[in-house]
């Protein structure tokens, strides 16, 4: 399941309505670089799951799954075991020192602030770090899973998402118009165009994707973006 970063160049994709951008895999790779060695990390369903494929074993990062596992290393290639899955239903491999616990203990861990970082997908992030990622009004109903607890409880919340919608609408906005997951919870946004920090004074551009200019990021962003800091190009 480990991707080959050297072959990632071809994963940069283009569409008619959205900017030329990094693939989902490159977003996951860049999000993985945000994780500190030795940290405990929860990965949301979808794109964030790919992050597990881009961490180095030597970094000793341990993944926690809402359903009650601490210490899985990534998605398993071996036979499917119905009782050994992550919160997305995918089979996982365990590291030495892993543990199982029930959902109550799992969310005590999450809500209680014991998870170093969570990487979640996003529909929208606002200028003050509000997150919307569980409810698409056009579809209704919604599926929240552990997202609200993770947004409240993870010490660092990293949102990994496409910078704009398929229709080219910014997902980074002044105020979310999708229903919120939690207020003022996002610390870092990693997209196909940029890495943006959410600070007490608003959004601050830290990195741009290869071949993407600061101006382009600003143009595809629907909220005020401080570009005055040192802005680097992402190293992938």
């Amino acid at each position: 399941m480990r991707a080959d970063p050297g072959a990632l160049g071809r994963l940069i994709v283009a569409s008619s309505t959205a900017p030329v951008s990094l693939s989902r895999e490159l977003i996951a790779l860049r999000a993985a670089r945000e994780l500190a060695p030795g940290s405990v990390v929860n990965l949301g369903i979808g794109l964030p799951t790919l992050v597990a494929g881009f961490v180095e074993a030597a970094d000793g990062i341990r993944f926690q799954a809402e359903n009650g596992i601490l210490g899985y290393s990534g998605i398993s290639d071996s036979d499917f075991d119905a009782d050994l899955i992550n919160a997305g239903g995918q089979p996982v491999d365990l590291l030495a020192g892993a543990s199982f616990f029930d959902t109550a203990d799992s969310f005590a861990m999450i809500r209680g602030g014991h998870i170093d970082a969570a990487v979640l997908g996003g529909l929208q992030v606002s200028a003050r770090g509000d997150l919307a990622n569980w409810y698409v009004p056009a579809r209704g109903g919604g599926s929240v899973g552990g997202a609200m607890d993770l947004a409240v409880g993870a010490r660092t919340l990293i949102i990994a998402m496409a910078h704009v919608t398929r229709e080219g609408e910014p997902r980074i906005v002044e105020v979310c118009d999708y229903p919120l997951t939690a207020e003022r919870c996002v610390d870092v946004i990693v997209t196909d165009l940029a890495v943006i920090d959410v600070t007490a004074r608003g959004l601050s551009l830290r990195e741009t994707a290869p071949g993407v200019s600061v101006e382009e990021v600003g143009a595809w962003t629907g909220a005020a973006l401080d570009t005055s800091g040192p802005v680097r190009e992402m190293s992938l």
């Binding site: 799954a65 809402e66 359903n67 009650g68 596992i69 499917f80 075991d81 119905a82 009782d83 050994l84 899955i85 919160a87 997305g88 239903g89 199982f100 616990f101 029930d102 959902t103 109550a104 799992s106 969310f107 999450i110 809500r111 569980w134 409810y135 698409v136 579809r139 209704g140 109903g141 919604g142 599926s143 929240v144 899973g145 552990g146 997202a147 609200m148 607890d149 409240v152 409880g153 229903p179 919120l180 997951t181 939690a182 207020e183």
Partner: protein, 230 residues
């Protein structure tokens, strides 16, 4: 306090009444009582409220919608944000034929735990400032806001464990724990399917995930494999 051993899942669920609230253990494929769910389908009871982590993620809970047995679902994951396949429940929900109460996972397990532990509720930050807070009491304590979440209980709990002994002690495998141990505490009638029924003492005291006093009925079943492929 021995658990009653049933020889078929159908017999174990036969007296569940129409209109019951059913707690269903499991998390996607792990620790999911698929034999009991299918027995409940065959039983034909209707107007049921199901409380479960998920419906329509490869689980068989969605099968209960074929004959419209579920009038309400309380879950964390019920309507997919994307994807082409739609569950039967999703279709019935969209048609206004079934009700959905969506609850954050950590809040759902705490509400169930409160229901089983004799607590009147818990205060959480989860859901503050979101749709989940609508209609709920917010307490301001020492300058912080907390959402009051109230207990949740079932008439019946359907659980899946690895092994059960004749006293009702349950031992779980790996991530098969999930919602099962807490749901065991929060229903009037607790029914568990297990892969093997053993004599008391075969499950070591520190391997018991659910103490026997919580479990009323046991049935030994070959597990039915389910899987979610997204």
């Amino acid at each position: 306090m021995n658990a009653e051993v049933f020889f078929t899942p159908d017999a174990a669920v036969a007296d569940i009444e129409d209109g019951s609230t059913i707690l269903v253990g499991g998390f996607v494929s792990a620790g999911t009582p698929s034999n009991l769910i299918l027995a409940l389908k065959r039983s034909g009871q209707t107007n049921l409220t199901a409380v479960a982590n998920n419906i329509g993620l490869g689980d068989l809970l969605d099968e209960l919608c074929e004959d419209r047995q579920l009038s309400k679902v309380i879950a964390t994951f019920a309507i997919r944000a994307s994807g082409t396949r739609s569950s039967r429940f999703e279709a019935q929900y969209r048609a206004g034929e079934a009700e959905l109460e969506l609850v954050p996972q950590g809040t759902l397990i705490e509400r169930l735990r409160a229901g089983g532990a004799g607590l009147g509720g818990v205060l959480t930050r989860t859901g503050l400032g979101t749709m989940m807070a609508e209609g709920k009491q917010v307490l301001e304590l020492d300058g912080e806001s907390w959402l009051l979440e109230r207990p949740l209980r079932g008439d019946v709990a359907l659980l899946k464990a690895w092994r059960g002994d004749r006293q009702g002690n349950l031992q779980y495998r790996q991530a098969g724990l999930n919602f099962n141990p807490v749901m065991a505490t929060a229903a009037d009638l607790v029914i568990a399917e297990v892969e093997e029924i053993v004599e008391a003492g075969e499950i070591p005291p520190d391997g018991v995930g659910t103490p026997g006093l919580y479990v009323d009925r046991l049935v030994q079943c070959e597990p039915i494999p389910v899987r979610w492929d997204g």
